[in-house]
Symmetry: C2
Subunit: 123 residues, 2 copies
């Protein structure tokens, strides 16, 4: 798979809530960075964040509006949509991904506005 | 110039506060979108936003950490730094750019966390 195909495989695994498939695409030293909220390192730490998120959603759609890849680097502009008990939560995001020569994701960094996310939460 | 070179030319024009050179790289129908804050259209509207910004800064550095281009599309991960009377203001940003066949920028869209910017302002 090309780096862009690896990123697409990761996103489609998230969309079908297949956590094992998604985590299996990550390198041992992966960095997952939600820029305004902080970063974690390693597949287990990513699993610990994504598991509860997937469990809280009845449906997930990450719509890729634009994507460009060069070398091991992939950027995409997305609308990440999460169906929660209170309705759809939508976050406009730009993702930066790096994929190593073994086809494992070493960097997943999302830029977004934290308040845009928080103001959609109930209460 | 390639689309990536056009984007670099725009950024270096901003860094030397050469507003005419920067605006000259924009298409008539350019969209400038600061995602959490809103968008404007057309070179004059961009000039009206950038002019006061450049006037408020004694120095500007936009450090490009990562960049990928594909077709007419350019993404970059940047740290935008503005030297203000109260010190350096720094905003982590991802930019999405589209450049038409005449070498003019038709889209400039920045994703960032608005609170990260606002909490650095005095008062």
């Amino acid at each position: 798979m090309s780096p862009a195909e690896t990123v697409t495989a990761f996103i489609t695994a998230i969309e079908r809530a297949d956590l094992d498939a998604a985590i299996g695409l990550l390198a041992d030293d992966v960095e997952y960075d939600n820029v305004p909220m902080g970063k974690v390192h390693g597949p287990q730490a990513v699993r610990d964040l994504l598991g509860p998120m997937l469990g809280a959603c009845s449906s997930i759609e990450w719509i890729v509006h634009r994507q460009a890849a060069e070398g091991n680097l992939v950027f995409n502009e997305r609308l990440d949509r999460f169906e929660m008990p209170f309705g759809w939560l939508e976050v406009p995001v730009t993702g930066i991904w790096e994929v190593d020569d073994d086809g494992r994701i070493t960097l997943w960094r999302d830029y977004f506005d934290e308040a845009t996310y928080r103001r959609q939460l109930p209460g």
